[in-house]
């Protein structure tokens, strides 16, 4: 059966008629054309498809597009703002936290949700927040370091009273 849905992705409104069985990840990739979100396993283990939906990190291969009706979705494409890259993107690059890059989008989105809920995470908090994301290059030491560094940068920019770049302080839902 088909159904019409309205979804906001990265601040932009999408209206489409989709099959009930269409997964949200396929909607994001194939209908909205945002291919930065990846599919690595079909079973919900790998987290390459992680997005932020209504403020929470969600695996977009585990829900249907029709379940996202009315939702506000953020994908990796929405992470950078007009003023520049998000501190997470900058620190991933600076810390050599990207190898093949296939898992990166999902990890960035999990990290984004973490830093909004917990702006001062310990390395253990970061590891815990990433348990749903697999990096097969196994670059975890660099990834955890990069997220910790990004959290420091965001906090420092707040302390300095400057507008932190990106959207990390935006309230969702």
């Amino acid at each position: 059966m088909n159904r019409s849905i309205d979804i906001k992705i990265n601040g932009k409104n999408y209206s489409d008629v989709v099959e009930d069985r269409l997964l949200l990840v396929n909607y994001i990739r194939d209908v909205a054309g945002l291919t930065g979100t990846h599919m690595g396993c079909d079973t919900g283990h790998c987290g390459a498809c992680t997005i932020v939906m209504n403020g929470e990190a969600v695996k977009s291969c585990l829900i249907l597009a029709v379940q996202a009706e009315g939702a506000s979705v953020e994908t990796v494409e929405g992470l950078a703002s007009e003023t520049g890259l998000h501190p997470l993107q900058v620190s991933f690059r600076r810390n050599f936290a990207v190898q093949c890059g296939f898992c990166t989008a999902g990890i960035l989105m999990s990290a984004l949700a973490l830093l909004r809920n917990n702006p001062e995470p310990s390395p253990e908090d970061i590891s815990k927040a990433l348990t749903g994301n697999i990096c097969r290059c196994e670059g975890y030491p660099n990834i955890v370091k990069a997220i910790e560094e990004a959290s420091l940068v965001i906090r420092a920019s707040k302390d300095l009273g400057r507008e932190p770049r990106g959207k990390e302080n935006e309230k969702e839902g």
Binding site: M39, C100, L130, I134, R136
Partner: protein, 827 residues
């Protein structure tokens, strides 16, 4: 930015040795990268879903696709009956009557073997239709492991062979018999390495478009090379090379060797497009990846070392049995042959005998997995060396150092023909002791043991060969055949790079590499920028191969750590050539000799008369827009150079079976401290360090990140990873839920050290690096666990050494009684 950089003066090698942030990351962190499944597809593309055999061994009696074909949107249901009309078997590296197709013909020989392909307008329709295909199977007796395959009266996986042994050979170097006669002691070990894989995040994928107008089949695929396999696919599809275009995207989501095995699917999906006349796209699911992609060989090895009175390694004997699954597909028997050159590792051993036997079973076929065959070799060899140290009462690092090839010996030719370029292994060991804080670690172990904890130390060393000289596969061919005049020997492993300066001064570098996370774009940009005096951002680097537009060879691709060795050399050489071209053109335009020209800050000028100068931008412009000028006419000043780099030592195999399978040979030394939980058998890594000889790094940040990942992968393999099947050949762990993959909750941070010894064979002295931990890591961990379990006299003989194996073999109640006496030693 262009060749005329606005930046201040850059001298050569400015960016060499700098941890420059990766250029790739700008698109990878913003979601703008284009992996295979992200590419737009040709109009009319159909989607393939592969129906696979649920039986490990069965006769295919009948395939009924009548209901499936009626599903609206289905274009075709293709089986071997249809596809063999456009396809021949994929050629094998070894001589065998076996015919290997990418789809089962009359029999399925492993659970997961393709049986039919449903082609439909969408993937969902194809999946729906696939469920309506009925296959009538007659299950046959299954041969699921080596022991059964070699048992008397075992059923044959291939009746045409008449046995499950598809290849058997003994290689002998030096005088092994004499060495063992002279030996004061002979020490032996047995190790079983179970089948495993290092699965990448991105699964396999192929888009094939057969164009009737040009009669060309184009395939977009995340294949990593070597392009010998593209040749194999063209052969199978009855295509001449000019009618087979392979396009590999610049972004590949990891491989760890596995994506060489995309090639059977290139044949299968290509055949589907040729047969149906429509473009066909296939993206592998994760479960398909586990049952149908590839794995490393299962190996049984028995190694013996002949020792002199003072602990010298006089000779080494190895008996190797590899289970390579249902088909001996190319590049097997590479699991063994790729390592023949460096079988003796970093040790000076003049007498060597290797007996290899290759066995087919009803399991997934194999292909190279990160550090092809070297975990299989390094784990038993280092376990053997450790045992030799114990038996002779020598410190394990001292015994190794005593038997190392010495710095004065290089270039060193091994007994089996490997030509090692450079090394100072003893110095690397000293560095390892220092970064690991060996004295501190030993004190810590003693302290913990006093508390009754099961802790131990382990060391492993190894040679890290880079580049693959195809000559090694000729060892699979009988000597009689190799002697014939008609035989074409194989050799070489060249890498190419094309550098072009566009009319507006922009620089483009085109590589024939297929990186999967190794940062080639950044490294190449650093090299070109250093030579041409610009910034890395000024150089656009294109990776991935398009066989119609790239200078490629049969060895093109990214595997066997070839980029760090030959790839860097090709890019660097091309950049030097380009600088020479610019200098020559400038010398003509300025009327001075080329030796007199200097290039700085985007300006070329005469050293003797500094007022004679030309900006590189004007120079490039003149070459393009005014080549007919008096100064330039008649000369070749085109600003495009292709450089192919090879190393002279990559010759063909000799008739006495000596071969040099690699171009450069790095070194790695690893130390690990572990604790075994008495109650569960689970292992914690207390400390882990590796020292690498990469010959020097262009980008140490990239080298270190690759090695950090490799060390974690090594522990994943050693402690957890194996592909499990039951005795009917049914795979039991086929998702990321039940095949162990590490998460961020469970990683460790290895201590990284460098002990570079420049290679004399490459212009910058670099060697390949980052596969080393995948071999020394499991070996060091195994030895450390044996040390931790010394009170149990533990002999760890199976990889992975899972908590379950450690517990049931050594720690469970039944074993406690046996070890009670040795336990009192500790208390």
């Amino acid at each position: 930015m262009t060749i005329q950089s606005s930046q201040e003066k850059r001298t050569e090698q400015t960016y060499v040795g700098v941890a420059y942030p990766r250029l790739e990351d700008l698109r990878l962190t913003t979601g703008k990268a284009k992996f295979l499944d992200d590419l737009s597809v040709p109009p009319g593309t159909h989607y393939a879903v592969i129906l696979r055999s649920p039986y490990a061994h069965a006769k295919i009696k009948r395939i009924d696709a009548e209901d499936a074909i009626k599903v609206p949107g289905v274009r075709a249901v293709l089986t071997a009956v249809e596809l063999l009309s456009v396809m021949d078997p994929l050629p094998l590296a070894l001589r065998s009557p076996i015919r290997y197709y990418p789809i089962a013909t009359d029999r399925a020989r492993y659970a997961g073997e393709p049986v039919a392909v449903v082609i439909a307008r969408t993937r969902a329709i194809a999946e729906d239709a696939a469920s309506k295909v009925n296959v009538d199977y007659e299950p046959l007796e299954v041969v699921a492991d080596i022991e059964k395959a070699l048992a008397q009266g075992a059923p044959n996986v291939h009746e045409a062979v008449g046995s499950n042994t598809v290849w058997k050979k003994t290689f002998s170097y030096g005088d092994v018999g004499n060495a063992f006669e002279q030996a004061v002691k002979v020490v032996s070990v047995d190790v079983r390495v179970n089948g495993y894989t290092v699965p990448p995040m991105e699964t396999f994928g192929v888009v094939a478009e057969y164009d009737r107008g040009s009669d060309v089949l184009t395939e977009w695929c995340n294949f990593i090379g070597p392009f010998t396999m593209a040749y194999v696919v063209a052969k199978a599809l009855r295509l001449s090379q000019d009618r087979f275009r392979v396009i590999v995207p610049g972004d590949i989501g990891g491989s760890f060797g596995t994506k060489l095995a995309v090639y059977p699917y290139m044949a299968l999906i290509g055949a589907c497009s040729i047969f149906t006349g429509v473009p066909v796209k296939w993206i592998e699911t994760r479960m398909e990846h586990f049952v149908g992609s590839t794995r490393a060989a299962t190996r049984l090895s028995h190694l013996e070392m002949a020792l002199s009175a003072d602990g010298e390694f006089l000779g080494l004997k190895a008996r190797i049995t590899d289970d390579i699954g249902a088909y001996p597909r190319s590049p097997e028997p590479g699991h063994l042959l790729k390592s023949v050159s460096n079988f003796t590792g970093p040790y000076k051993i003049a007498n060597l005998e290797i007996s290899g036997e290759y066995v087919t079973t009803n399991t997934l076929p194999t292909s190279p997995i990160r550090a092809f065959g070297r975990p299989h070799l390094c784990i038993p060899l280092e376990k053997l060396v450790d045992k030799c140290a114990k038996i002779t009462g020598t410190d394990p690092l001292e015994l190794r150092k005593r038997n190392f090839i010495q710095p004065r010996d290089f270039p060193y030719t091994t007994a089996s023909g490997g030509v090692y370029d450079s090394g100072d292994y003893g110095a690397a060991i000293e560095k390892l002791k220092q970064i690991f804080d060996l004295d501190g670690a030993r004190a810590d172990i003693l302290e913990k043991r006093r508390e009754g904890r099961l802790v131990g130390l382990g060391f492993a060393v190894g040679i890290e060969p880079s580049v693959s000289n195809m000559a090694y596969l000729d060892l699979a061919i009988p000597e009689e055949e190799r002697q014939k005049a008609t035989f074409m020997p194989h050799s070489g492993g060249q890498h190419s790079a094309t550098l072009k300066i566009e009319p507006d001064g922009h620089i483009v570098a085109r590589l024939d590499s297929c990186p999967q996370g190794q940062g080639h774009e950044t490294v190449a940009a650093q090299l070109v920028a250093s030579v041409l005096g610009v910034n890395p951002e000024d150089v656009r680097v294109l990776t991935g191969v398009d066989t119609f537009n790239v200078s490629w060879s049969i060895s093109s691709g990214t595997y066997a750590s070839r980029f760090g060795s030959l790839g860097i050399s090709a890019v660097y050489s091309a950049a030097l050539d380009m600088r020479k071209k610019l200098t020559e053109a400038a010398s003509k335009l300025l009327g001075v000799s080329a030796d007199d020209i200097v290039m700085e800050n985007g300006v070329l000028f005469s050293k003797s008369r500094r007022d004679l100068k030309i900006s590189s931008k004007r120079l490039v412009g003149t070459v393009y827009w005014n080549p007919g000028s008096d100064a330039l006419k008649g000369g070749d000043h085109t600003l495009s150079v292709t450089r192919t780099f090879n190393v002279e030592t990559l010759g063909p195999a000799t008739l006495d079976n000596k071969v040099n399978a690699s171009a450069t040979y790095g070194f790695i030394g690893t130390a690990a401290a572990v604790e075994v939980d008495r109650d569960t058998g689970s292992v914690s890594i207390l400390k882990y360090a590796s020292v690498h000889d990469s010959g020097g790094s262009v980008n140490p940040g990239i080298v270190e990140q690759l090695c950090v990942g490799a060390a974690n992968q090594a522990a994943s393999h050693a402690l957890h990873q194996e592909l499990i099947h039951d005795d009917r050949g049914q795979p039991l762990n086929i998702t990321f839920g039940d095949y162990y993959v590490r998460t961020a909750e469970d990683f460790f941070t290895p201590i990284f050290g460098s002990a570079a010894k420049k290679s004399p064979f490459t212009p910058l002295g670099t060697k390949g690096v980052s596969e080393g931990d995948n071999m020394t890591g499991p070996a060091a961990l195994l030895i450390a666990i044996q040390d931790a379990l010394y009170e149990y006299n533990a002999d760890i003989d199976t990889v992975p050494f899972t908590a379950e194996r450690i517990w049931s073999r050594f720690l469970s109640k039944n074993n406690l009684g046996e070890s009670a006496s040795s336990r009192s030693d500790v208390a």
